[in-house]
Subunit: 535 residues, 2 copies
């Protein structure tokens, strides 16, 4: 009781004065947190939860960058990945990722690899693997955190110029690169980039492994040549199955329906357009002169008003007017599907199955962002009869390995009634059977549930498209399974009848008093009729 | 085929020259991404997925800050929360959170509310609700994004000084506050802070609601007085049940076992200590002179070496030596439990049940971070007999509302065999029965699975502690349930015997030829014996 009293007494005292521990005391601790410090402490948010996952994430970020760079420069990607165990150091690996891409300017190299939240992909609306400007620098930062070693980068932008080499670490307190070595080097290649990261890691085969990841990347990127040397020194090569680059996705302007009020206010403020009407036409996609006029009218705003002078109140009216105006869906050439044919090629190359089918949906829109869904399915053959089907998830051609149960793709597969298509399925579970199912979401902005980009958030528009694509493949699968069953029954019937034909021959021979030749003829004719009738 | 040929030809050409689209072209798009831009585009990572959750997250971030500030200044918190629907605006709400805390210095106000990754809690090892320096600015940023309205902050640091008012927005491109209004105001309070945020939101009762959240906060913070006015104008008050402030957690130095090599290198570089031995003793917790010497010896390093001159190679040896040296567990006064008694007080206040039990474990360590687990359980009474038990999860006294299935607390409850303790349970599910179960994890660094702080990552050390606490409560519950069952059986037996006593009386009367008085006496005596023997 004494303590209680003491406290209340103190409280009373406090209410007459400033508190004993004042705002001044608390202010002393306040300071800025750099984004590198933040993600060092929260490295699990970026996919560096544990040594095994850290290895996968590092490979993934490196390959994403290589593939993106090659495609942007219209080069068919040749990528080499090498994972070596560091001598005498249990649990330490050296990862090398090398590409034949366009290379990186010397001036850009330090910040691309040594600064978090730096890149070219965040601010535009165009499909690419990277979107955050965090990945590869985070991998370097993790390496530095666990081994103290810098990231080594070599890049060459033209056969006529020498390559440039940097060795750098991140100054996490400032989130800026600190250069340790900066030299010109000879590198016998036309152009490309090579990154070496040493990190604490664990190599283990099986599901969610680096091996798995690289194989799946090859399926979704048939235009890439991938050479992979694992820590056991085995060399695995995935050759191109296509010599065509994917259609280049175009960068688009935001669609008015996807915009939030705060962003609209910012755009009004930042625009170079002099008039409201031209602002709407130039800074957004799908706004014609007519549509722009209609929006202004509905907002009760003068179409020649200066955008920078639109007050908050008026921006709100404009925002509401946009929602009330019919505007065409955004253009969809900002995304580039793998395509039915190449999906099947990709699957066929890695999997020996009896039946393949794929379906690419037309692009559509969620929250103003264009996206499309593709599905590929392989059935039978070497695939195991027992157990759940194997689901391969992809986002912008990148395989997703973790957090399967939190992903809209998994949810959509579970919520499809596979019994209608000839597969067994318990409620709330994936179907069972000899099936590999591949689902690809391509979008200018994939709504990942975390920075580690492991699963996709459940937007209803996305779930709907996935289900439609699955159902289409399901119908084809169902026909194949039915045909296969029917064929199996035919063979069974045929073998029954075939067994009796010689007996019929003998019976007829006795009844009609035929010779051996005539008997043989009858048997042959009957067999022939059977073959023709049933096949 | 023509296209394919064309591409290969082009490829060949490319290999002699720099690619057509060069590194120079790609470099043009490269730029810095501010952390505000990043989280605006990824607002779901911070808990602003949808309007209902946005309302909860805003309240939560505001209350976290208020409670933390009061406790640091040793003030019993009085908090007022008001949610109003904005006139004539469907789906827009004005949230006000007011406290009697120490207030905030004028110079600090803009950045605390208008800059992401700014705060006093990230860089220290001490239990608090906030840890990232993102929350309240993110809430303001979401308000600004969805309504275009600034955040309004009023703060007063002493009864002798006027209050200061700021109205501000975040310049997302620079991640810096932009001040719109900056005035002194009269505020009739001794000291405290008031924040007003207008945002697009949805108010809905039930599970995961703001109402639920505030009620649970009251349970875990019995020393706080909370007044809550909901959008329907109802005023709900949760009074203090304790007049004692929680024991103040102490700030600690990092423990050598929890440190990563990269951090060790950075600490060696940044330290003010002149000698390796004193560096180990001063910059870490639990390193005595003897232990420091032992580490140096094992690392083959001179104990008087200058820390800033330790090379990477030597740091590695130091790192390994630390792992090989026996060091005491970190001190645990950096965390402050709610305590058995107050947990039960808190539960009793909100819930009418027959049985209450709680268990507070001794502090222990994961990855160098001290933590402790507390469990409270209420059984029977008004709680529903049917259905799964209700699980309340808390981290540093903050209720967790979303992502229940991804949380180590849920996992631990599911993996406990509740049948041993008298409850029904299907495999892989929560038990069923009239139970509310509260689990609290308190730590200097809670390993959340995302920035929105909704669930805790499954560290084995944490799971183990939770299970031990649950088992302890389970044993008490089991005794209570057995006693209750036994008591019910006794009552049943007693009522059987009671029924026969008058008949015995009649029989004895006849056999022994007794009068009515004697008969009554026998019946009373027998009844009395029964009462005494069974109760």
């Amino acid at each position: 009781m004494t303590t209680k009293k003491a406290v209340s007494k103190k409280n009373k005292k406090q209410s007459d004065h400033a508190p004993k521990i004042t705002a001044h005391d608390l202010a002393k601790g306040q300071r800025e947190i750099s984004v590198s410090e933040f993600f060092t402490k929260n490295r699990h948010l970026l996919g560096f939860d544990n040594p095994r996952k850290a290895l996968l994430t590092t490979i993934k970020e490196g390959m994403d960058n290589s593939l993106d760079a090659c495609e942007e420069a219209k080069i068919l990607p040749d990528i080499k990945i090498n994972i070596e165990q560091v001598n005498n150091a249990e649990g330490r690996f050296r990862v090398t990722i090398e590409d034949n891409g366009p290379g990186i300017l010397k001036s850009q190299m330090p910040r691309i690899f040594g600064k978090l939240l730096y890149g070219s992909k965040f601010h535009r609306l165009k499909m690419s693997r990277g979107q955050q400007g965090i990945g590869i620098s985070a991998a370097g930062m993790y390496g530095q955190l666990t081994t103290g070693k810098p990231v080594l980068i070599t890049s060459k932008i033209s056969p006529k110029k020498p390559a440039h080499h940097y060795s750098l670490v991140i100054d996490t307190q400032r989130n800026e690169p600190k250069i340790i070595k900066d030299v010109e080097v000879k590198w016998d290649t036309k152009h490309g980039t090579k990154v070496v990261i040493e990190l604490e890691a664990k190599y283990q085969k099986g599901r969610q492994s680096v091996d798995d990841y690289i194989e799946q990347t090859a399926i979704a990127n048939p235009h890439a040549d991938i050479i992979y040397i694992n820590p056991e020194g085995e060399k695995i090569r995935y050759s191109k199955t296509s010599k065509e680059l994917p259609v280049e996705p175009k960068e688009i302007k935001p669609h008015p329906y996807g915009i939030e009020l705060g962003i609209l206010i910012k755009m009004l403020h930042d625009t170079k357009a002099k008039k409201l009407q031209s602002f709407l036409m130039k800074d957004f996609s799908r706004v014609s002169a007519k549509v722009a006029k209609e929006i202004c009218k509905k907002a009760n705003l003068y179409e020649k008003a200066r955008p920078t002078r639109i007050a908050a109140q008026e921006a709100d009216a404009l925002y509401k007017a946009i929602k009330l105006t019919k505007i065409m869906n955004p253009p969809t050439d900002c995304i580039s599907p793998i395509g039915d044919e190449l999906i099947i090629h990709g699957l066929k190359k890695q999997i020996n199955a009896d039946f393949f089918v794929s379906n690419t949906r037309a692009p559509t829109v969620y929250r103003g962002n264009p996206f499309l869904v593709e599905v590929g399915l392989a059935y039978g053959g070497d695939l195991p009869e027992e157990g759940l089907i194997r689901l391969l998830r992809f986002a912008n051609r990148v395989p997703l390995q973790y957090q399967q149960s939190a992903c809209v793709i998994t949810e959509s597969v579970i919520n499809t009634t596979w019994r209608n298509y000839g597969l067994q399925q318990s409620s709330g579970a994936l179907p069972t059977g000899p099936v590999i199912l591949m689902v690809h979401l391509a979008s200018v902005w994939v709504p990942f549930t975390s920075e580690s980009k492991e699963s996709i958030a459940p937007y209803p528009e996305i779930e709907k498209e996935i289900k439609l694509a699955l159902q289409e493949c399901g119908r084809h699968l169902s026909k194949f399974i039915k045909r296969k069953k029917k064929a199996a029954e035919e063979i069974k019937k045929k073998s029954y009848i075939k067994k009796y034909i010689p007996h019929i021959g003998i019976a007829l021979k006795e009844i009609l008093n035929l010779n051996d030749k005539q008997e043989r003829k009858i048997v042959n004719t009957l067999t022939d009729i059977l073959e023709r009738s049933r096949s």
